[in-house]
């Protein structure tokens, strides 16, 4: 092993040497020349190198250079700070007058904005654009993970460590209590629905029946993405009207490019292991602890949970494994000026670090773009993205009771008891509470498949050179199927084999279907009106229709076979069967919108936006909402007085105001609804109370920004200060008693203000910029403040689950505090005399700590040395608290004598004099600081360049994800958000026996043909 380690760099070094050998010949000649800028001024310090070689020099003060090179050197590469890299043929070029073009200012980049593009220079809003080269490297099943930690103001939390798990995506804090806090995702102009097509598993409530959701963005192949734009303020997002309040993320996929046919290939293989284990007592420690606290240790009958079976078992280890990750992709593209296409395929196969979990994704995409007719004025864009996700899922739920879901079962398993008996059979004790986690893993089968097709056709016509009319018709169809079953051999009540009936087990089959149709018609005008004023304007109409429905069947008490029970639903006990189906009300959104960007003298830019959104979800008295925005920007660097202030290459100040909306509430909420019960024929109950005035949540945003570039663009940065105030808070309020039997609530826009304010700082600095050595450093920091004000009422959420914790909750939403502030008994210590917990004021509860971070931090650094490059990215989050429900319910010391406990809990208890009879209670004892800093990503790559005649631009790399995490949080990972809602009100910052996070090492190669 040692040999291998020390050899690896040498191997690469030798490869390098071989390439150098091939590219270097012995005959030599000398060339001279001069480098100037377009005005004829000499460029000093420009570097001149031979392409593909190591020989080089730099220009002197007069811009002149002289270089000795081999006879077969064909091309010179000229680079200088602030100028575009230029290549010159050695033969046939006038080397005496090399004119370098100033590097295009970063601000001339074109950025995708809603319903069009704009030069970055012309943007007045807070828009962050992340290009492919800046995406997070490694294994990222869903696109939102590509920009985790990359954008100021954006918080992406992986809800669990499971492959393909969902994320909590927040832009500039949470602004909603009950409606969604996630942004609107738009893929190539198609707005995605918030419905998650992956159904929940059909599970008996015994082990928790709320299972973590998948990521609805999984269907996109990250390798197909060209860029992602985050629209943060109202100037940018108001064009999305009633769906823009939480920000918008525009995902733009790669398109065919002009040029020869090209094949891009990427392949990688990696291995994932658990990042951090939770330490529970070993068998020996457990035996010692039992003795210390007066429990019998000599019992060896299975009937006693404290029995000493003599072993030393790490149950968590038995259900963990190393997961192999494979990822392959190939893209073909070709095109000329009038026809371009791109075709791509992707395959990803990720074994989870828990046995029997897997995430497999197949994607295929095709897009083409044509210019038709003799005058080439008719354009036709066409694209299809298809994918299938195939997941094997572990029995890990959000709300398991005392039996625990698989992680809980493993942590609390009696560590003296081997999971398998001497004869190799799994040790399953019928009638006992303890569930063998390995047996449960063996007994549980859960597979979900989600198939998605997103198709788009967009004809456009250039009426004049400046006026384009475009119509985009997009269709999304997604269907998800989930089949799960638990075999009869597991000792869970209602599932375990019943010898009296000869039956057991449970199975569920569920299916969801989502259909979205979108028609977008736009008329855009983009022209210089005169020498001073240019206009970029669009007017449009859009119609979106979404239907979502599904069905599910669940049954128990099967005649056991060794085949999947889901194949034999008919062998179940008829009385156990549950059939369900639903079809949500059709959701229609009809909109009219316009935007104009006016640029005066390249100095003053004004943007005005207005969108009128009509939604079938809104009450009949409020069918249309209007969402305006106004913004201005000032390119200060264009002013005459800046002529003398050479330190800035660009300097822009921005200000914007606007109103955006959030309509993420259930369809049908404004009407009186009656629900038909499947299991009780003829039973109908009123399930919703009408509100004809129901409308969107309204967020007013103020944004002030400053963009600058200094030192010939080596230092660039952006500051943004924002204030978002959300009113008309959507909330399913307790209707006045008496209320309808199923739903006691009525959706209302209630009084109150959710205020989010903050400062975002983004800085990028090219520390070293030499021919062979470059070093970039980028950092983004966000300071956030969140507060709910003028709100009457108190809303509990954050359900705490586990034995003895029914009815306990950890968070209370109340005026004057950040959303989801923790509200708990305050633990003051252990009474030495009794060994029992003491609390400030007894049963009194206090507001203590918020799960919302006050600071987000992200950094990226790239070092390039010759053909090597190193990229390191990290991110952190500070100021937030996490409720450790795992420690409260599973690891807690007072479980001693019934099941295993946490090692640190045991040590703490001993030092505090706690006794095992100490009652369980939700309290600040389990509230922990969630501050963390994560080294998220480190990649070393080596550019092999062209290999032979056909392989071009080959690069090999190794990426490590989650190398380490600095935190005081005692759970698996402080970046966690287990869904623990109460009465449907979402929680935030709760941890409960989640799928653990992994560390992944990935080896890969990219090349083109």
């Amino acid at each position: 092993m040692l040999m291998k380690k020390s050899l690896t760099p040498k191997v690469w070094g030798s490869l390098l040497a071989i390439f150098l050998l091939f590219s270097t010949a012995y005959a030599q000649k000398t060339v001279t020349g001069k480098v100037t800028d377009p005005n004829g001024a000499a460029v000093a310090g420009a570097s001149i190198t031979v392409k593909g070689g190591t020989i080089g020099t730099s220009t002197d003060a007069s811009g002149s250079f002289s270089l000795t090179l081999s006879n077969d050197a064909k091309t010179l590469v000229i680079t200088a700070v602030g100028f575009t890299k230029q290549e010159m043929a050695v033969e046939g070029s006038d080397l005496t007058n090399i004119v370098l073009i100033p590097a295009p200012n970063d601000l001339d980049e074109v950025v995708v904005i809603g319903y069009g593009v704009a030069r970055k220079r012309d943007i007045t809003g807070a828009v962050a654009s992340v290009k492919e080269k800046d995406f997070n490297k490694g294994v990222n099943p869903a696109p939102d993970q590509l920009i985790q930690g990359k954008v100021a103001g954006v918080q992406v939390v992986n809800n669990s460590g499971a492959p393909g798990a969902g994320t909590t995506f927040r832009i500039r804090g949470a602004s909603s209590l009950r409606a969604g806090n996630g942004p609107l995702f738009v893929v190539d102009g198609v707005q995605l629905s918030n419905n998650n097509t992956r159904p929940d598993a059909g599970l008996s409530p015994e082990l928790g029946n709320s299972t973590p959701g998948g990521n609805p963005l999984n269907f996109i192949n990250p390798a197909d993405i060209e860029s992602m734009e985050v629209l943060k303020d109202a100037s940018a997002a108001a064009i999305y009207g009633s769906r823009g309040a939480n920000g918008v993320v525009l995902i733009t996929t790669k398109k065919g490019k002009t040029g020869d046919a090209r094949v891009d290939v990427n392949a990688s293989v990696g291995v994932a292991n658990i990042l951090k284990r939770l330490e529970v007592l070993s068998g020996d420690q457990y035996r010692t602890a039992l003795g210390e606290f007066g429990f019998p240790t000599n019992v060896s009958t299975a009937a006693t949970p404290t029995a000493n079976f003599g072993g030393n078992v790490d149950a968590l280890d038995e259900v963990l494994r190393s997961g192999i990750v494979q990822n392959y992709g190939v893209g073909f593209s070709s095109g000329n000026d009038n026809a371009k296409y791109r075709l791509s395929f992707g395959y990803m196969n990720q074994d989870g670090i828990i046995r029997k979990t897997n995430f497999t994704k197949y994607t295929a995409g095709f897009n083409s773009s044509f210019k038709l007719l003799n005058n080439r004025r008719l354009g036709l864009d066409f694209s299809v993205l298809t994918s299938q996700i195939d997941e094997d899922i572990a029995p890990i739920s959000n709300n398991a009771g005392f039996r625990g879901s698989m992680i809980g079962q493993a942590l609390q398993w009696n560590p003296t008891r081997p999971l398998r008996k001497a004869n190799g059979d799994l040790d399953i004790e019928y009638g006992a509470d303890a569930v063998n986690p390995l047996a449960f893993s063996e007994a549980y089968f859960d597979n979900a498949k989600v198939t998605t097709v997103l198709a788009n056709v967009a004809p456009s016509y250039k009426i004049t050179n400046n006026l384009i009319v475009r119509s985009q018709i997009g269709i999304t169809y997604a269907t998800g199927t989930r089949k799960n079953y638990t075999t009869a051999f597991i000792n869970v009540p209602d599932i375990a084999f019943n010898p009296n009936t000869g039956r057991g087990g449970e199975a569920g089959i569920s299916q969801n279907e989502l259909n979205t149709q979108q028609i977008t018609n736009t008329l855009s005008y983009n022209a210089d009106l005169n020498k001073r004023i240019s206009l970029n304007a669009v007017v449009g109409h859009e119609y979106i229709k979404t239907t979502f429905g599904g069905n599910n069947s669940y049954a128990r008490n099967f005649i056991p076979t060794d085949r999947p029970y889901t194949y034999f639903m008919a062998t179940s006990d008829p009385s156990s069967r549950r059939l369900g189906s639903f079809q949500d009300p059709t959701n229609e959104l009809q909109s009219f919108f316009t935007r104009a960007i006016v640029n005066v003298d390249n100095k003053y830019i004004f943007t005005g936006t207005l969108r009128a959104d009509g939604s079938s979800k809104f009450g009949e008295n409020n069918r249309y909402g209007y969402f305006p925005s106004l913004a201005g920007a000032w390119n200060i660097d264009k002013e005459n007085f800046m002529e003398d202030l050479r330190m800035f290459t660009s300097l822009k100040a921005r200000a914007s105001w606007g109103i955006t909306g959030n309509q993420d509430f259930p369809a049908g909420a404004s009407q009186t609804l009656y629900t038909v019960f499947g299991n009780n024929p003829g039973l109908i109950q009123q399930s919703n109370t009408a509100n004809p005035n129901l409308k969107w949540e309204s967020t007013t945003t103020l944004n002030f920004g400053l963009d600058f570039a200094m030192m010939a663009n080596r230092l660039t940065g952006t500051f943004d200060y924002f204030e978002r105030k959300t009113k008309d808070i959507l909330f399913p309020r307790d209707a006045a008693d008496p209320v309808a039997p199923i739903s006691a609530t009525r959706w209302e826009n209630i009084d109150g203000t959710i205020a989010n304010s903050g400062l975002e700082v983004t800085l990028n600095y090219r520390i070293i910029d030499k021919q062979d050595l470059s070093w970039d450093f980028g950092i983004n920091a966000t300071f956030l403040k969140n507060e709910l004000t003028d709100f009457a009422g108190e809303i509990p959420t954050g359900e705490v689950t586990g034995q003895g914790l029914s009815g306990a909750f950890a968070q209370l939403i109340k005026s004057g505090y950040p959303i989801n502030t923790f509200y708990l008994r305050q633990f003051t210590g252990i009474d030495k005399a009794t060994g029992i917990s003491q609390y400030q004021g007894g049963d009194e509860k206090f507001f203590l700590g918020s799960p919302n971070p006050t600071m987000l931090l992200g950094f990226t650094t790239n070092v390039g040395y010759k053909k090597w490059s190193l990229e390191i990215a990290g991110n952190g989050s500070f100021g937030q608290y996490i409720y450790n429900n795992t420690a409260n319910a599973v690891l807690a010391f007072n479980n001693l004598g019934k099941r295993n406990i946490g090692l640190s809990e045991y040590e703490t208890a001993k030092s505090l004099g706690e006794r095992p009879v100490n009652p369980t209670s939700a309290s600040t004892r389990y509230l922990e600081s969630g501050d963390f800093f994560r080294l998220a990503n480190a990649t070393v790559s080596y550019r092999l360049g062209d290999i032979g005649k056909s392989i071009r631009n080959a690069t090999v790399y190794v990426t490590a994800q989650n190398l380490f995490i600095l935190t005081n949080f005692t759970g698996f990972d402080p970046e966690v958000n287990v869904s623990k809602p109460l009465n449907g009100i979402p929680s935030f910052g709760m941890e409960y026996t989640p799928y653990p996070t992994s560390r992944t090492i990935n080896f890969g190669i990219n090349f083109s043909l």
Binding site: A303, T304, P305, L378, F402, G431, D433, V469, S471, P493, H541, Y543, K545, F582, Q583, P585, E588, Q590, S616, K617, F618, R623, G668, Q671, T672, L673, Y674, T675, V676, N679, N680, G682, L683, I684, Q685, Q686, R733, D734, A736, D737, P738, V739, A740, P741, A792, G793, E794, G804, L805, S806, G807, I836, N894, G897, K898, V917, P919, T920, S921, A922
Partner: protein, 504 residues
């Protein structure tokens, strides 16, 4: 070409234009009703019966409000078990506040019945359907006025903007009485597990008996006219098809629908498929190592257990189909427990599973798993799983007889000439308890406890007999404000017509 293109675009804009009327899916709007619509009085009535299950059968609703607050039940915290944010402790110690989760849920869920049963009246019900709905509503309103004194109601359940009005105290009770009097002629005589004439009469007895209490809970006065109403109604019921079921526990057994001759009004539970949470009656009390493996929660207190004489079958007995299956007796479980083969059971620490009479609100001893006497009122259904077959009992003959005895003691006059001691001894004889020579009010409240324990009447009875504020195990003398529950904070916030009850 340009023109064609523009026309196409214009066409798609027009085609896309929608009036945005919401098209419903698997839910129905009210317009789906009408003469042949799916939403009609019959199905809403079924929904109302369904809505009765949660508040009356679950362990955390009416039963908790009536029993945990009394001397019949205590919910001790046992280390990792049953802390539950303190909800059970404050029920027993009568320290609840307007944010008590279960009391608030009970208030809401009883209101749901009021809503659903009022909603029926909008859909042209038959007179029988209307009468059934009104009886369910009277029951829910009676529980509301008894517990909270304030009964919100809606004039028009179809108007979502209506702020519900509130009837308080005597006004609410008078409404209940007038409703019951109005529907008794319309209701049918049976079956027992649907709303029926005698069920309505028994409920009306409760209303008259408690009329003076609702008017003044601290110092109730009982009018002779009310007591005579109780007696008249009792005589009508007693003359009906009922007799005391020879085996006391058959009234609650899985097959009680056929075995009981005494039950007047019950809620139908269909084993294995459709039931309320009646199984919580045994699950909440049984230890983990018994069959079925219970939740090891609620117990009674020693002083209550000691009210029984030794031979009283209501204190404990074997029950065929249960004791021979699992070794578990019916009635009260105290001392060493055995399985069906007579093998002594152990608790999870390996100590003998022997239930102790002594029990505290927060158990911290090494025997905390086994403290407290367990109570099995409903014999266990070993077949139905989560859906037990035992019909849930609202009202039965023994209660009617004891109410009649009480009405006579409180100044009523029985034209049939039965005496309180006769009535009481009929019940005691069935239970193999020695006959009493005479009956006082103090003896009668004890007899009501012995006969009706864990049947969700204890709090109401203790208040009527002036004993609710007295101290008992783990409960101090309490303030008279606890004679009514606080209006839940969230209900108060939603309705300006509600006012918080005094003292909260």
């Amino acid at each position: 070409m340009k023109r064609i293109f523009l026309i196409t675009i214009a066409a798609t804009v027009l085609a896309g234009c929608s009036k945005l009327d919401e098209q419903l899916g698997s839910q129905l709007s009210e317009n789906t009703s009408g003469s042949s619509g799916a939403i009609n009085a019959t199905v809403i009535l079924e929904g109302a019966y369904e809505a009765m299950r949660l508040p009356y059968q679950d362990q955390s609703r009416v039963w908790a409000a009536q029993e945990h607050t009394s001397d019949e039940v205590i919910g001790p915290t046992r280390a990792t078990d049953w802390d539950d944010n303190g909800v059970w402790r404050v029920m027993h110690s009568q320290q609840w506040d307007p944010n008590h989760a279960f009391l608030a849920d009970t208030y809401r869920d009883l209101g749901r019945i009021v809503f659903a049963t009022s909603d029926i009246l909008r859909f042209n019900p038959t007179p029988q359907e209307a009468a059934e709905g009104r009886m369910l509503r009277a029951m829910a309103m009676f529980s509301l006025v008894d517990g909270w004194d304030q009964v919100p109601y809606r004039e028009n359940t179809g108007d979502p903007l209506e702020v519900p009005k509130v009837r308080k105290g005597t006004e609410a009770l008078d409404f209940i009485i007038s409703e019951l009097n109005a529907i008794i002629p319309v209701l049918t005589n049976g079956p027992t597990n649907r709303c029926n004439k005698n069920g309505a009469r028994a409920l009306l007895m409760k209303a008259y008996l408690n009329k003076g209490v609702i008017a003044n809970r601290a110092t109730p006065a009982f009018a002779a006219a009310d007591m005579n109403q109780v007696i008249t109604l009792a005589n009508t019921i007693i003359a009906g098809p009922y007799s005391l079921t020879p085996n006391y526990y058959n009234n609650f057994a899985p097959a009680n629908n056929s075995l009981s001759t005494e039950n007047i009004w019950t809620a139908e539970n269909i084993g294995g498929s459709s039931s309320g949470n009646v199984r919580s009656r045994w699950m909440c009390t049984l230890h983990y190592n018994q069959n079925p493996s219970g939740w090891n929660g609620f117990t009674t207190i020693a002083d209550f257990y000691n009210k029984f004489s030794a031979g009283d079958v209501r204190r404990g007995a074997d029950f065929a189909g249960q004791t021979n299956v699992s070794g578990i007796k019916v009635g009260f479980l105290v001392g060493q427990q055995f399985d069906q083969n007579g093998v002594a059971l152990k608790d999870r620490t390996g100590a003998p599973l022997a239930f102790t009479p002594q029990v505290k609100l927060t158990e911290t001893g090494s025997n905390l798993e086994v403290t407290g006497i367990r109570v099995i009122k409903y014999p266990i259904d070993y077949v139905g799983g989560d859906n037990a077959n035992n019909d849930f009992v609202y009202l039965r003959l023994a209660d009617v007889m004891l109410m009649k005895a009480e009405a006579i003691l409180r100044g009523g006059n029985d034209p049939n000439g039965q005496t309180p001691v006769q009535l009481t001894n009929m019940i005691r004889t069935r239970a193999a308890a020695p006959a009493l020579a005479s009956v006082s009010l103090d003896q009668l409240i004890d007899e009501r406890g012995r006969e009706l324990y864990w049947e969700s009447w204890r709090r109401q009875d203790l208040i009527r007999f002036g004993k609710f504020l007295q101290p008992w195990n783990e409960k101090p003398q309490t303030d008279p404000k606890v004679l009514v529950f606080p209006i839940p904070a969230r209900s108060l916030a939603a309705n300006p017509n509600l006012v918080q009850n005094p003292g909260y």
